[in-house]
Symmetry: D2
Subunit: 285 residues, 4 copies
Amino acid sequence: MLNINSFGIIGGDKRQLFCARSAADDGFGVFLAGFGKCENTLGLKNTDIKTAVENADALIFPLPISKDGETVNAPFADKPILFGELKERIKKDQPVFCGMNGKLGSDALSGLKTFCYSSREEFAAANAVPTAEGAIEIAMHEYAGTLSGSDVLIIGYGKIGRVLSMMLRGIGARVSVSARQLKDLELIKAAGMNAEHTARIRGRYDIIFNTVPALILDSRTLAKCASDALVIDLASLPGGADDKAAERMSIKVIHALSLPGKAAPKTAGIIIKNAVYNIIEEEDL
Amino acid sequence: MLNINSFGIIGGDKRQLFCARSAADDGFGVFLAGFGKCENTLGLKNTDIKTAVENADALIFPLPISKDGETVNAPFADKPILFGELKERIKKDQPVFCGMNGKLGSDALSGLKTFCYSSREEFAAANAVPTAEGAIEIAMHEYAGTLSGSDVLIIGYGKIGRVLSMMLRGIGARVSVSARQLKDLELIKAAGMNAEHTARIRGRYDIIFNTVPALILDSRTLAKCASDALVIDLASLPGGADDKAAERMSIKVIHALSLPGKAAPKTAGIIIKNAVYNIIEEEDL
Amino acid sequence: MLNINSFGIIGGDKRQLFCARSAADDGFGVFLAGFGKCENTLGLKNTDIKTAVENADALIFPLPISKDGETVNAPFADKPILFGELKERIKKDQPVFCGMNGKLGSDALSGLKTFCYSSREEFAAANAVPTAEGAIEIAMHEYAGTLSGSDVLIIGYGKIGRVLSMMLRGIGARVSVSARQLKDLELIKAAGMNAEHTARIRGRYDIIFNTVPALILDSRTLAKCASDALVIDLASLPGGADDKAAERMSIKVIHALSLPGKAAPKTAGIIIKNAVYNIIEEEDL
Amino acid sequence: MLNINSFGIIGGDKRQLFCARSAADDGFGVFLAGFGKCENTLGLKNTDIKTAVENADALIFPLPISKDGETVNAPFADKPILFGELKERIKKDQPVFCGMNGKLGSDALSGLKTFCYSSREEFAAANAVPTAEGAIEIAMHEYAGTLSGSDVLIIGYGKIGRVLSMMLRGIGARVSVSARQLKDLELIKAAGMNAEHTARIRGRYDIIFNTVPALILDSRTLAKCASDALVIDLASLPGGADDKAAERMSIKVIHALSLPGKAAPKTAGIIIKNAVYNIIEEEDL
């Protein structure tokens, strides 16, 4: 990190603001742009795009970088930030860190020195924490009883399943986790929880958290294990439940997506910063 | 419980509804009154006061039983339920269970066979769970980071402090608990948490939960340990923080009271039911 | 602690050695006596009684202070340390800290400025930790399966019950705790464990830990809930089980007493030191 | 499992005995052979090899199947069980389950229908539990203090690292875990523990558990982080520590291998049985 002493934070929501704040606290120069309509910028000064791009050693774009493919995702910006104009200002060797740039046209950032922070494994692992807490907050808000003492099922024992199950057990819920691999079923039991096979869920639950992007909760499974349950679906759309069947059975299904930014923007912003730092170290920028 | 086969649930909020539902699920006859304006009565039929009092073997009143001293606390009732009229209908040997009847004039229920469920020790212990979860839900909602990894302090190691600290540790927070007795300080450490003496709090915290009804967080203590903190005050008013000093320092203090009914009415209702059952068993009613 | 700058540690087992070591690490002068036959004195020099008593500002005696009423409990001493001779050397205003001096004749230390550290509440609380770990070590050693996944019962929810149940749950056992008070039953459930009433234990267990000094495990209860169980009895003799009935039923009962000194002499010694410090502070010595 | 109604358990230690007992409890016929010198066979009858092989639908051999390459590993057998004689009796289509048959000559079981249970992933996952408990029992036995409150490091966050760290945290230790992958470092933090990079361990510890079969604890690392530590090395020989350097520094290193069979033969036996069942189901035997 010898060559990068300052960051330009261009657009984004509160996550980018906390990312900027945290980088500034670490001693980096920070040039914030695209936050003109934000009331509280955590003590940082908003500047214009030109100043930010020209003065910063590297740029950090938000997650997702764009929602329309033409402008930067910048809900707090006074006016749209067009990639066309932006690209001309960015130097060829100026590192550009961005997240989830799939929706962006292939030439929007072509020729620039871009790095994706959101596809990194440790980024996903770190975000399991704000995702799990966001899911728990929703469950606490929606469920009429306490999580402590309730029967909960987590479908899937990946990163989110591991963190979420540990937290729910810590709160005092009776936790079951479903998985398909025998190895995972053993690790679930080893963690002091009840193991279910995802293909043949047998228990009945008060709350079901789905983390698997596949149709697990079909009408038959819903009828058997979820007839009185609240379903919180964390998998990307269409999610893991037959929503129409659930509606017929009066089972409430909540699609809870993009939780880190909503539930814990500060943590989510620091996770972005850490991923950027990791890229800088690995790439020796 | 040989002589009591049915309950009249008179007034109250959703807690009483869940109390009624749970008693009905246990096989008791249930006569619900004072829920005329409630849209979803969990499959139970609302009836009039007269029917409920005449047919039920015992009556359960809400918590608190009254807010004005003259009418039953019945937010869902079509019209006010006056104690004066009610008292004439209740038989002298008909058990009446009620909670927190301090605000009620001394003759409002005089001559009746009343039992207070809310002053019981196990009632307070059981309510520590929905109180702790309600506090955690507020913290998750208000705090911009995750509880996991944050530095939290719980002031007081009574029932709520014990449950709340265990849950927060289970979520992954770095938990400190303050107490005054050396014995409690040892038990805090034994539970794997950091112990602070309440009179001389030394750490700096992201979130502080106060459970002690005394001025602990005076301006000096706030400045030292809470300058960036969110304070969630669970102690009855005026609470444990110098609110004016906190405001001057831009420290957010949230007074979170009566959490069980707000955060988990189902659990709170079942706790009322269990306390009533315990009285029936102890008193051999 | 302005007036006490050195301690004489007179007799005792490894606990006293660790107590001495820890006090020396805190900066106190330490005069060790009665450890002539101890091979490893943790870098401390053993001296004679006369030197220790004459030079130390205060004296610390072991737990128990005596086993025969006439000599100090000093298993590592070259020769018996008689209270008669000792008493003449101790100054009237020289603080003497000792533990469990019940077995000592009433005049053995009469006229001296004695303080008992072992009767203090925080001393008992702190010792719950080495006691619980000692009990777990025995269970791991004796039980042919893993504690993780086994059904364990802890009888009693006092200090030891609280710490032991938390640890066993942390290891992954299915933990039930029995108590008599309704309040405790609620706190047990709040901690995510199964609650049993001590007077009517209903489950069947792999391992039972008793902490209550009363006959709980009579032959009928043993037959019902412990027929395949290992019983670890932590209560002082005669303990909480009908040993003869257990023998008839081939139920193994292990009386596990004085665990802190056996399982974790270092921790036990530091607990003695801390209790002495607390007395010094409270008494302003 | 339609075709297999009985098992022949040939040789092995207590694990095989518990495996046999558990299969018998599940309703299978069990023919035990090679346990003539075992005093307590858990109510099962020992028979001769001929009877066992001829009557059982399938055979289960121990782990490891042989220590010398010529005879079955059978410490309780009256006389050596030679593979040469054995092989003639076993039918070509009689399923043979065995573990870790690397040391066995390639023709010892050639031509037979063999299945290895010990190379299965869920077998390793399940054995993480008795391994972790065995390691904790050793630590409790060897360490003079309590694990609760001690600073422990687990090197490696694979199956054993995950289970062991969770248990140690549950007991109240201050747990650090080291790993190399950024993803694992995040998951360690998400589990409420301190993360260290294996290549640059910075803390100082009371107890270090190594699970990685590579030289991590070289003399420099030992000097820095383990000078007062107890090292429990769970990795296969030569383990992860420089034993000679440790000896020079008076650091105690304990090589703790094959823990499941030693610490929890019952659990280890049931894990063998479960792996055999899984093979039968997968292979449709």
